[in-house]
Symmetry: C2
Subunit: 122 residues, 2 copies
């Protein structure tokens, strides 16, 4: 089973190493192993979990929420219903945010069209 160093993991996901250390400290990356010298070893499973963390981060889930999700993952199959409910709720929140941004984008487009008209005069 392949393991990744912190620099490899950071490169894979294009985020700073410091952020990975911060996430581990916050409990978003639990059970990371260490080599003999104390260096982090990311397993394939943990890379996949990191992918999920980043997916949730990309959709603006707060650290505390991601932490709760990860705690449930670790707790095991008994939390599947909770995780499902969380993801369903989060999906609604994300769709609402996308809607708000999409609506607001119309306001921006309107500005662009007005400025495009007016710019002729200058």
């Amino acid at each position: 089973m392949k393991y990744y160093s912190i620099s490899e993991a950071a490169a894979q996901f294009n985020i700073p190493e410091s952020t990975l250390r911060y996430y581990e400290k916050k409990g978003l990356l639990p059970l990371i192993e260490r080599d003999g010298a104390g260096r982090r070893l990311f397993s394939e499973d943990q890379m996949a979990l990191l992918g999920t963390v980043i997916c949730l981060k990309n959709t603006n889930m707060p650290i505390s929420g991601i932490r709760q999700y990860i705690d449930w993952v670790i707790e095991g199959d008994s939390t599947i219903a909770l995780r499902l409910e969380m993801m369903q709720n989060h999906k609604q929140a994300v769709m609402a945010e996308i809607s708000l941004m999409t609506e607001s984008l119309e306001g921006i487009d309107y500005k662009i069209s007005r400025y495009t008209e007016r710019i002729q005069d200058y």
Copy 2:
């Protein structure tokens, strides 16, 4: 010409009065008049400008960026090209963010479908 009190403005846009005071301090709401008692009076024009500020805020433009935009509005027609360029750039940024969220939403949907399958077993 109708004027709005801070509480009316806050109610119109559904944001706290404290946020309006904060925005004014940050230069996002310039030239707000006061009545004899020192209370803010929002004109129709300023309500419209506030709408724009909130539109930019909804699309995650930082305060500093909104401030620059407002400064250009005040400066007058000579800044129309700059404002147009800013809005065009911002539109690209917003579309990129919507894309990222939309993509990440697929990851969330995948989680939902997997959990929905597995939940049968519990």
